[in-house]
């Protein structure tokens, strides 16, 4: 186990292994997303209250799920990098942040589009989930801004890792406080949670989409980390060998 981890942590080994993994992740992810899209749009029955409008959950729910998972991946990777001084972990954290921000943005946009016919407004401050997603987006912005402001990569890694960990402690508190805040001026939330059992024909495409989004996130993350590693190791010999096989002077 330790041996495996040690191998994974070495950039050249990671670079080789991830090249083999990415196509499989893409293929599996695309299959799952195609199944989820087709089944979600054509097979899942029409919702009684929301008609066809509910079908946007097949994009919205997976995006919201990934937006939070990406923050967790980022914070855990940052913690590993800070504690065990593993450079690869910092590269993972750096790669996860922009992806997480984009998925958060997607969740906000789809939530807003869903809200237009359901609530009659593009934005509803009273909905705790939408509001905490917005704050999550701000947290990503802060993290990326701090990273961008520090020129030295090693320093940027460590400083942003501290911020990611402080943020990880705060995310549940923020979510809880937003929920408390909205519970005061509005009774039960507008979206009913699950309701009395979701129909399997609606549920399976959703699970397929979540699985597909997760696999695609994994593939995109690996691709980002690969370029990040190349950039960071640009002075290492293995990178030179890889990019200039003829042995020209670097």
């Amino acid at each position: 186990m330790w041996n495996f981890l040690h191998k994974m942590a070495s950039p050249p080994h990671f670079y080789g292994l991830s090249a083999k993994m990415i196509p499989w992740l893409y293929a599996a992810g695309v299959v799952a997303v195609i199944y989820g899209t087709v089944a979600g749009l054509f097979i899942a029955p029409v919702d009684e209250e929301m008609n066809d409008g509910f079908r946007i959950i097949y994009v919205h729910v997976p995006a919201a799920y990934i937006s939070m998972m990406a923050y967790m991946v980022m914070a855990v990777a940052a913690g590993i990098g800070l504690i065990w001084r593993m450079k690869l972990a910092h590269a993972v954290a750096a790669g996860a942040a922009p992806l997480g921000a984009w998925f958060t943005f997607l969740a906000l946009i789809t939530g807003s589009i869903w809200g237009r016919p359901m609530w009659g407004t593009w934005w509803e401050w009273g909905d705790p989930r939408l509001t905490s997603e917005l704050l999550l987006l701000f947290l990503y912005f802060g993290y990326m801004a701090l990273r961008a402001a520090i020129d030295d990569t090693a320093k940027a890694d460590k400083a942003s890792a501290v911020l990611a960990l402080v943020g990880a402690v705060n995310v549940p508190i923020i979510h809880f406080s937003v929920e408390w805040w909205t519970s005061l001026h509005q009774g039960p939330t507008i979206i009913k949670e699950g309701g009395p059992g979701i129909h399997p024909d609606m549920l399976y495409p959703l699970l397929g989409m979540i699985l597909g989004f997760t696999l695609l996130f994994g593939a995109l993350l690996l691709a980002r980390v690969r370029t990040e590693v190349l950039h960071r190791e640009s002075r290492a010999r293995w990178v030179h060998k890889l990019l200039m096989p003829a042995g020209e002077p670097g």
């Binding site: 800070l82 704050l135 701000f138 947290l139 912005f141 802060g142 801004a145 701090l146 402001a149 520090i150 320093k155 460590k158 400083a159 501290v162 911020l163 960990l165 402080v166 943020g167 402690v169 705060n170 508190i173 923020i174 809880f176 406080s177 937003v178 408390w180 805040w181 005061l184």
Partner: protein, 225 residues
């Protein structure tokens, strides 16, 4: 090694003395606080119902912004004259020294805000018993903000673009304090129970007191490598 509290007390004494020599640094955030609070009636309109409704939120937003304004200079002069390196190198535990700096920051920016806030509240027609609750929430909340902010100030200390960056880092993290602070005052104004919000603010304050100094210390070491 000298006793544990020596460095802590020395930092507090030194920072208080420095502030005493430059009183403008304390007054500026206070003026800023008062000005932000007076922007709202001018921009939104002076009708009494609106003032009563918006008062708690306005006071809290103004306090948050004023605290952020003063946080930027928390480690700046120490960084510029090199004493920050000495603080980091000292054998005293760095989290405790960071806590000392945050304590002085609260004493010089948080506490004055709490003391001035009744004046603002009065212009917003806040009744007397609500003003007491507001001061309590501000007192608890500004302690948390000083501690949270010291992490951000430590992370951004050597950076040119520190000022805007600090707000970007700290504002989303400070949201729970703002929400609970402002809502609790609103609840008090509506005559509802306020204990839940006050307990939350106190709990958050304790959490920040225990964890934030360690994050600040780690951030200071990283920024000064």
């Amino acid at each position: 090694m000298p006793p544990l509290l020596d460095g802590f007390l020395a930092i507090i004494r030194r920072d208080l003395l420095l502030a005493w020599k430059r009183p403008g640094d304390i007054l500026n955030p206070l003026f800023f606080f008062a000005m932000v609070a007076s922007l709202f009636p001018l921009a939104v309109g002076p009708s009494p119902e609106q003032l009563v409704l918006n008062g708690p939120g306005v006071v809290w937003v103004a306090a948050l912004l004023a605290t952020l304004l003063s946080l930027n200079s928390l480690f700046l002069s120490d960084f510029e004259d090199g004493s920050l390196d000495q603080i980091i190198l000292s054998p005293q535990p760095l989290p405790l020294l960071g806590l000392g700096k945050a304590a002085v920051h609260w004493f010089l920016s948080g506490l004055p805000l709490v003391l001035v806030s009744p004046l603002i509240a009065m212009t917003y027609r806040m009744p007397g018993e609500v003003v007491g609750i507001m001061m309590l929430t501000l007192a608890l909340g500004t302690v948390s903000l000083s501690l949270l902010g010291s992490i951000g100030a430590a992370l951004t200390v050597g950076l040119n673009r520190g000022n805007a960056l600090l707000s970007l880092l700290i504002l989303p993290l400070a949201m729970p304090v703002l929400i609970f602070g402002a809502r609790t005052v609103s609840l008090a104004a509506a005559g509802d129970a306020v204990s839940a919000g006050i307990y939350f603010l106190a709990a958050y304050c304790m959490l920040a007191l225990t964890l934030a100094p360690f994050a600040t210390a780690a951030a200071l070491k990283i920024s000064n490598e």
